[in-house]
């Protein structure tokens, strides 16, 4: 256990380094692309005097390094600054969008795992069957059709034509559970089926590979039933790649699915990041990207811990 604790401590240290690296890159990128927040905020009501006054007031006229150091100084104390555009604290803006993002990510992952894992296992067990062909073909469609296009089709079919589900928007679970579910189904399906297709393909190939290993042949030769072979020998050896791909998918989903969030007017992190880029709202963008990076790193860490739990041969040193 001590090794696990040491491992986690080391990883947290690495995470802090990674987050620092991410913030440097984001800062460099946003200043590398053309466009500045004050000019965008003023838009066509541009006035040179007002421009100068706003630059000065917001501190955007100071040298870049100075701006970054000032931001970093408050960031390490937990203050992510104030969004230039809305003048609201960035932490609050990100937290406010968290429930919607978690809801969509959770529902999409639930769907993706619920569909992708069982189908992948069954397809592998019955390789070459009709079901295998149909499921593999469907997953091909799933990974090649863009989620936003599928989303538009769902809206046109299930909202406009059939009138079964609302076309867009997000309702809090605590305000209206039925409304929460009805608003969630379409975007979760649009995103979830893409993830399901990716997970399906990984699961199928991981299980197939385990089937072709020597230990499987030995297990069969011992006369174990197919069921025992699958549950005791094949699946335990297939879990590692499966957990990896599920972790990666969850990381993507928690970062917000920008295009789908825009399409479904879903008030998540992705839409916030999109607005921040458009406005060149540096502090807001830093906040959202740091959150996304943090989520990725945490999930990575969890996946690594699960590895050891799934396969005792893996050591944390």
């Amino acid at each position: 256990m001590a090794t696990v604790t040491g491992f986690i401590a080391r990883r947290i240290g690495q995470m802090i380094l990674a987050l620092f690296g991410v913030s440097v890159i984001v800062f460099a990128l946003i200043h590398f692309v053309p466009g500045d927040p004050v000019r965008i905020a003023l838009g066509t009501r541009f006035d040179p005097d007002v421009y100068d006054a706003l630059m000065k007031r917001s501190g955007l006229d100071r040298p870049l390094l100075e701006q970054f150091v000032a931001w970093l100084g408050s960031a390490v104390r937990g203050d992510l600054g104030v969004s230039f555009r809305s003048q609201q604290p960035v932490t609050g803006l990100v937290l406010e969008r968290l429930p919607a993002t978690l809801t969509l990510a959770g529902a999409a992952l639930f769907l993706a795992v619920g569909v992708g894992v069982p189908l992948g296992v069954i397809s592998a067990v019955r390789q070459g069957s009709k079901l295998d062909y149909v499921a593999t073909a469907a997953s091909q469609v799933g990974v090649s059709v863009p989620d936003f296009w599928a989303g538009i089709m769902y809206i046109l079919l299930f909202s406009l034509t059939l009138g079964w589900l609302p076309p867009s928007g997000y309702v809090s679970l605590f305000d209206d559970p039925a409304g929460w579910l009805s608003h969630l189904i379409l975007p979760a399906t649009a995103v979830g089926l893409v993830s399901a297709s990716i997970i399906y393909r990984f699961v199928r190939s991981a299980v197939l590979e385990a089937f072709n290993q020597d230990f499987t042949r030995t297990a069969r030769a011992k006369g174990l039933s197919s069921r025992r072979v699958l549950w005791d020998h094949v699946l335990p050896n297939a879990w590692i790649p499966i957990v990896t791909v599920i972790g990666l998918q969850l990381g993507f989903l928690l970062g917000g699915v920008v295009v789908v969030e825009i399409l479904f007017a879903w008030p998540g992190i992705g839409r916030l990041a999109f607005v921040a880029v458009g406005d060149r709202d540096f502090t807001l963008l830093q906040g959202t990207v740091l959150y996304i990076a943090f989520m990725f790193l945490i999930i990575n860490l969890l996946v690594d811990i699960i590895y050891g739990w799934l396969d005792p041969r893996i050591r944390y040193d």
Binding site: L42, T44, V50, S86, Q88, R97, P167, A265
Partner: protein
Amino acid sequence: MRTKQLLRTLAVLGVLAVVLAACTSDEGSGGTLVAAQGAEPDRLDPHLTSAFASFQILENVYDTLVQPGDDLTMEPALAESWEVSDDQLTWTFTLRDGVTFHNGRALVADDVVYSYERIMDPDTGAANAFRFASVESVTAPDNSTVVITLTRPTPNLLVNIGGFKGMAIIPQEIVDDGTIDTTPVGTGPFVFVSSSPDQGIELERNDDYWQDGLPLLDGVRFVQIPDATVKLTNLRTGEVDWIDSVPPQDLESLADEESVVLERVPGGDYHYFALNQAREPFDNPDVRSAIAMAIDRPAIAEAAQFGAATANQTAIPEGNFWHHDFAPYGVADIDGARALLDGAGVSDLTIEFMVSSDFPETVTQAQVIASQLEPLGISVEISDVDFGTWLDRQGQGDFDAFMLSWIGNIDPDDFYYAQHHTEGGFNFQGYSNPDVDDLLDAARVETDDDARKTLYDQAAELIVGEASYIYLYNPENIGAWGDHVTGYGVRGDNAVRFVNTELEE
């Protein structure tokens, strides 16, 4: 037996509850209207936001001293009357009695002074400070009188102080306690209640509104739906009652839809493009005129707006008092254009057109213009960038041509000064003609409307003739709402006012 009785009692109670609920909700209730806007409001400080989405909301929360009526002439709002001194330098406004802010405090003249001084203060960074350029002072001799003293006659003072809610009268306390961006407090028909990512922005009826019997609605809830097709679908399925725009390509299909009311009115907006006069050969007026001559404006308007627009060679649309009937260029006059280009010694011209997908019609227009200029031997390279980059390159003069539109202008000074005066804040194309400067300066202080119009007509002829801007068309303002919504109309200035609106069963 007992269970049966209990059930019966419950059933009776249930029916009663339904009846009671129906009665209470019917009583004097206009309902809550759900309005869908395409963009997200950024901040709610009326003096500091420049986002149209914010103003759609603030229009219903704040008031100005005077405001544009339905025909866009300025009419009383918080000021019930005003007088102008003979020398045109002193304007005295008398405030309406009994107006209170949403926090219950009575409006006094000092609030007007505070609001205007806040906009004028350079440290505030208000984009509308320029509207007070001719104002020397704003004073409050008593609680219901505001005196504005000017350094020069300012015929468009009323438009400057009341043209839109960027000039709103605010209570100082919400600036002092820092809540103005999150909890606006005005004197308007609706009171700001809350804002959240899932519920949108909620407003409720102001029971103490200064217009008796108004507003009719119990409240308005603004939701943000960025995708135009999805926004329209929400209207079609009844999820929302009102949407702020309609994609032009959907106009035809919507016209047949019974449950949706579609309204199209001529607006004061215009679409244009401008050539960079700091670059050769666009510094030559003949080259610019040749391009203005070779394009086919009706075809551009049709392609970009599906017929919901009127081609115009000047800025101000027909039907507006300040419209000047002036159209020196033909339609797709390739021969005339070639003669001008030959005279200027220009051949093999390539123009980089800077447009932005954030305003998709500019991309369509650039494509149409590219094909229209082809017979002239001009090749157009379309550079489609995001609006942030667009503004940056415009500011740095890094373009051959840029294309955009101007919205919400009312007074002719708004149409011409910032854009075409040598000192104009938005003159990024680099136009400079001393005659135009003189005309625009003179028109700024001319108090006789007819004489003022003559000055603007002369300026317009030079601006159009030398193609400082190449004007394309005036789009219609388009709105759509459910057929159960009454008392709403699309306005010429695109302001969104729900004060007279009602929902019917």
